[in-house]
């Protein structure tokens, strides 16, 4: 036994046989998990995307590329969901990111009292379940909810607004809730980034007579640029993949017009959320296409932002 182990050690250089075995044994669970719960679902979706499949074996039939062709030629509501997703991202991030950066910059000041409290409260919403956040906001903006009744009390509106009956007001509620939910995390991210900027730079700038705003644009922004890039990527990714939150808050109201892609897929295909018996084959094709788009957006963003960083 002892001699055998020595031989193996010799054969593979500094690899230790029992250590190697221990590693494989420990990793057997995630490797099986990867094969069964990650790789297999992809193959599964790949296969069924060529079928009409509603879960009933007798109605299953092979349709070739038809599902994919339909996605690109017929499915208006899917592309509308993409439009909503992009609009949602374009409206949300230009508010959320500057707001978070501004708050983080103010909180960076040493003289400020109660810094810890502000910081903690700002990210409090982000540790609450997105489903519960949806429930809370759908209540606040209910027809008979507190927002309407406050607006009426201050005579801003004459009669209550049915927030979810109109596309633009429904989007406004979704945006408000979504910014409320996630701006605090970005404040934390930015504070971590700002604390890494050397103080000497600011002191030198003060000696030269630079004001607050000048310092912000000439020192702070360039210094935190790499982290900024990561923060933005995370924010874009998070916003693009928003799903359950919209299901709970607006559920697409009015008439499915406020579904993002994630929400659209849940609403159309997930058991318990979809009505009737959805064509899972078509859902597989949609999911594969969506997954490729997510990937492409992330890659495109990284390409563009590294090019920008190299140019400046």
């Amino acid at each position: 036994m002892h001699g055998k182990r020595k031989n193996v050690t010799k054969e593979f250089g500094n690899l230790n046989f029992s250590e190697e075995m221990a590693c494989y044994l420990i990793l057997i669970v995630p490797i099986v998990g990867f094969l069964v719960f990650i790789l297999y679902p992809y193959l599964w979706a790949g296969k069924w995307s060529f079928f009409n499949y509603t879960g009933v074996a007798s109605q299953t039939r092979f349709v070739g590329w038809e599902n994919f062709i339909n996605i690109f030629t017929k499915d208006k509501s899917y592309w509308h969901a993409w439009l909503v997703t992009l609009k949602f991202t374009m409206l949300k991030l230009p508010i959320e990111i500057p707001l978070a950066l501004l708050l983080a910059t103010i909180l960076q000041k040493d003289s400020l009292r109660g810094k810890g409290i502000f910081r903690s409260v700002y990210y409090l919403p982000s540790i609450i379940s997105v489903a519960i956040v949806g429930a809370i906001f759908s209540n606040l903006f209910d027809f008979r909810g507190v927002i309407n009744s406050c607006l009426m009390r201050f005579n801003i509106i004459q009669r209550p607004i049915d927030w979810f009956a109109d596309y633009s007001t429904s989007m406004a509620v979704l945006l408000t809730a979504s910014i409320w939910l996630s701006f605090g995390v970005n404040v934390l991210y930015f504070m971590a980034a700002l604390s890494n900027v050397p103080v000497e730079l600011y002191e030198a700038a003060s000696v030269e007579g630079a004001g607050r705003i000048r310092k912000f644009f000439s020192i702070t922004l360039p210094m935190i640029a790499p982290v900024f890039q990561t923060i933005l990527l995370l924010a874009i990714n998070g916003t693009l993949q928003t799903g359950e939150f919209i299901i709970v808050l607006s559920n697409g109201a009015p008439g499915g017009t406020t579904f993002t892609v994630g929400a659209y897929l849940i609403n159309a295909f997930v058991p318990g959320f979809a009505t009737g018996s959805p064509n899972i084959g078509y859902g597989s094709a949609l999911s594969l296409v969506t997954s490729v788009f997510y990937c492409l957006i992330a890659v495109a963003y990284m390409k563009v932002s590294t090019r920008l960083a190299n140019n400046s």
């Binding site: 690899l15 590693c23 990793l27 400020l112 519960i132 009426m152 971590a192």
Partner: protein, 283 residues
């Protein structure tokens, strides 16, 4: 100049305060409303403080058939505990193996696992997932979901543990090795005790995310409403036809679902802050 500075400071402070109040308002309103009578909720929603404090909503919610809070709360606690235990064991072990283990295929395997952060098939995965579980005679239930959790790969936390272990001096491992400790022994005797700080952070984040989970628990308990977690149950009530008349239950239920999270926030705030900041700078 001095005066101008003071004015700027004052404006900054005011701005911070306004945002603070806007952040707290939805939560405070929800919690205060849970102490209002259903009458008041329906007739005067604009009032923030309850006219008359009552805990009737909680009593009713506890005994209600449409929202079996007691049972749901226990389900949530058990599910969350399960998830946290799985996460702590797996993240620490896998992180250790990838930080210190020497084995063939290590780099490839880590690369493959890391790619999971960017590849995501989305909600349709539920079908093949249920199919696999059914093929090993696991009907969809909250416990089947836990089994799936065992096989999930917590890649972000593996990253955190791996880089944490890599920052520990390797001399300790070598000393233990000379004393006759094997690869697994070194983990339990030397490394694991030193992981406490990072485990606290990972434990907190995992507690929070599993308590908050919605979509998967909702699908997995569809055929078994008695296994619904608190979050799933509350949203089910919201979507039901009763919701228009059961605001009292909604508010009480929502508040109860917030309590564990708020307690964790009050007592373990720094672990959250650390975890979130680490995620950004490492990611």
């Amino acid at each position: 100049m001095e005066r101008r500075n003071r004015i700027v400071n004052l404006i900054c402070y005011l701005f911070l305060l306004i945002i603070l109040l806007a952040t707290l308002f939805p939560l405070i309103y929800t919690i205060l409303s849970s102490f209002k009578t259903n009458m008041e909720l329906l007739s005067d929603p604009g009032r923030i403080f309850p006219e008359r404090f009552t805990v009737d909503n909680y009593i009713r919610a506890w005994n209600s058939d449409s929202l079996q809070i007691g049972r749901m709360f226990i389900n949530s606690v058990l599910y969350t505990l399960g998830c946290v235990m799985i996460m702590l064991i797996e993240a620490s072990l896998y992180g250790y193996v990838f930080a210190r283990g020497k084995f063939r295929g290590k780099r490839i395997l880590f690369l493959v696992f890391s790619s999971l952060m960017f590849i995501n098939l989305g909600s349709i995965t539920i079908y093949p997932l249920l199919e696999v579980l059914a093929s090993v005679k696991l009907k969809s239930s909250l416990w089947a979901l836990l089994v799936y959790k065992i096989f999930a790969i917590p890649i972000v936390n593996i990253y955190l543990v791996k880089s944490y272990i890599q920052s520990l001096p390797i001399a300790l491992d070598e000393a233990a090795k000379i004393d006759g400790c094997g690869f697994v022994g070194i983990f339990f005797r030397i490394i694991r005790p030193m992981l406490k700080p990072i485990m606290a952070t990972i434990g907190m984040l995992s507690f929070n995310s599993s308590w908050n989970e919605y979509l998967f628990p909702a699908v997995f308990t569809m055929a078994k409403p008695e296994q619904q977690t608190l979050i799933v149950g509350i949203i089910a009530l919201k979507n039901s036809s009763e919701s228009a008349v059961s605001w009292d239950l909604m508010f009480a239920g929502t508040t109860i679902s917030l309590i564990p999270v708020l307690l964790a926030f009050a007592f373990a705030n720094r672990y959250f802050v650390k975890g979130i900041a680490m995620g950004a700078l490492k990611g």
